[in-house]
């Protein structure tokens, strides 16, 4: 699994790519750890761009929810964007659509979590 991230003001957009199955779930956990510990301020957010994720197992979903708990305890938010159809199905079957904010794309997610981050994102894309 590949992983990259980029900061936009008070939001970190993280981009995992590949299958988040049992062997890869730990990689995701390790990649997210420094972001969760230090990179997101209170009232900030983590947006996960899932456009490159083709599958996620229960272990991967567990890591997302653990991240959500950690962020919410720090008064920050988490959102997931751009789910592929199969991954969207898995989120529905696992009822993760009830416990995580899900958006059709990163820009829409940023619209909902941070105006300054959205402006920075649009500026970077221009």
């Amino acid at each position: 699994m590949d992983f990259s991230s980029q900061r936009f003001v008070d939001v970190v957009v993280a981009v995992p790519v590949g299958q988040i199955d049992h062997p890869n779930a730990e990689s995701l956990q390790r990649a997210l750890a420094p972001i969760l510990e230090a990179a997101i301020p209170a009232s900030g957010a983590l947006v996960l761009d899932f456009s490159g994720v083709s599958y996620i197992s229960s272990m991967g979903l567990r890591i997302l929810l653990m991240a959500a708990k950690q962020l919410r305890a720090a008064n920050a938010r988490i959102a997931v964007a751009a789910l592929q159809p199969v991954v969207s199905e898995i989120f529905g079957i696992a009822r993760f659509n009830h416990v995580l904010e899900i958006f059709p794309d990163v820009r829409t997610a940023l619209e909902h979590v941070s105006g300054p981050a959205l402006a920075a994102y649009d500026a970077a894309a221009a």
């Binding site: 599958y55 229960s58 979903l61 567990r62 929810l65 529905g92 079957i93 696992a94 416990v99």
Partner: protein, 319 residues
């Protein structure tokens, strides 16, 4: 050959189909009939059978009780939820009170929903019957005696006429009971629970209810996978959604359909049977979980297909 017969499949507490639930089923059936007529009763019955369980029947509401028919003379059961009452009536109707029988009963644990049927198990009142209650808990006998003690129940345990014996089992040992090889496994649940693997004639069934399988710890997962290995049937506690088991219902001691599929796939099991249904779920909700679980199995399949079923009161599975 083993035949598994489900007498109670509901988790936590028994539920009953309500008047409005019946009304909804009648409306759905009439809508499906769309004004057609039926020339014979057989034609009508065939139409009704084709409507699907949520419309033509129900998943039922008795708490956990599963029979394993071995082909031998003795009865074998898992747990003594309210499903044991109709089981007892059926056994009595078959043999009559004058023909003593032997009942071997394996207890996952002694939480109330798993023992509450026993005071209504009529064979326990009849002298001559032999009842052997097996389990891994030290408090096994205490739990049964206490639930029938005053003021909770009018008939004391000591008044039961059958020959009742409690037998402690230990994980890691194999037992030969009623023609079955029996292994048990400690599970994650408040106060502990035990899963069982029963084998005979080259067939195996795993009964794992009231167990919170998290897959968080690779070593622990490996132990469960080995216990499930190549089982013909895994009867699995799928009470909650995965999201619930990680969030609001974490540490409540139950598992999800998704983890059931993943464990069975890792173990090469042939059939996953969803069990210990959430009592707030109606028939349509359970049926939806079944359809979604089958879809998840399809999405994640890499080897042989895993057959996915959902237990209902009265269901039989032949192995």
């Amino acid at each position: 050959m083993m035949r598994i017969r489900f007498w109670g499949t509901r988790g936590s507490l028994p539920v009953a189909l309500t008047a409005s639930g019946v009304r909804d089923k009648v409306i759905a059936a009439l809508r499906a009939a769309a004004g057609r007529t039926f020339a014979t009763d057989a034609e009508l019955a065939s139409f009704v059978d084709g409507l699907g369980l949520p419309v033509s029947g129900s998943y039922g509401g008795h708490t956990s009780c599963v029979e394993i028919e071995t082909g031998g003379p003795d009865y074998v059961l898992c747990d003594l939820g309210t499903g044991v009452r109709p089981f007892g009536q059926k056994a009595l109707a078959r043999h009559g009170p004058g023909m003593p029988q032997t009942y071997h009963i394996f207890m996952s644990h002694v939480h109330w929903d798993h023992i509450m049927g026993f005071p209504f198990f009529t064979p326990a009142y009849i002298p001559g019957n032999r009842i052997r209650i097996y389990g891994g808990h030290e408090e096994l006998e205490l739990a049964f005696r206490r639930q029938q003690a005053a003021p909770s129940f009018p008939v004391e345990f000591a008044a039961l006429g059958a020959d009742i014996e409690f037998v402690h089992l230990h994980p890691g040992r194999q037992y030969d009971i009623a023609g079955l090889q029996v292994n048990l496994m400690l599970q994650r649940h408040a106060g502990d629970s035990f899963g069982y693997r029963f084998s005979a004639g080259g067939r195996s069934v795993v009964y794992t209810t009231d167990s919170e399988h998290t897959l968080e710890d690779a070593k622990e997962t490996g132990i469960y996978v080995n216990f499930f290995r190549d089982a013909d049937l895994v009867i699995f506690d799928a009470m909650y959604s995965l999201a619930d088991t990680i969030s609001v219902k974490a540490d409540w001691g139950h598992s999800s359909n998704i983890v059931g599929v993943e464990l069975c796939q890792l173990a090469g099991a042939r059939q996953l049977c969803l069990f210990h249904h959430e009592p707030i779920h109606g028939d349509a909700a359970i049926d939806r979980v079944l359809a979604e679980t089958r879809r998840y199995e399809e999405i994640t399949r890499s080897g042989q297909p895993l057959l996915v079923t959902a237990a209902y009161d009265g269901m039989e599975i032949e192995l």
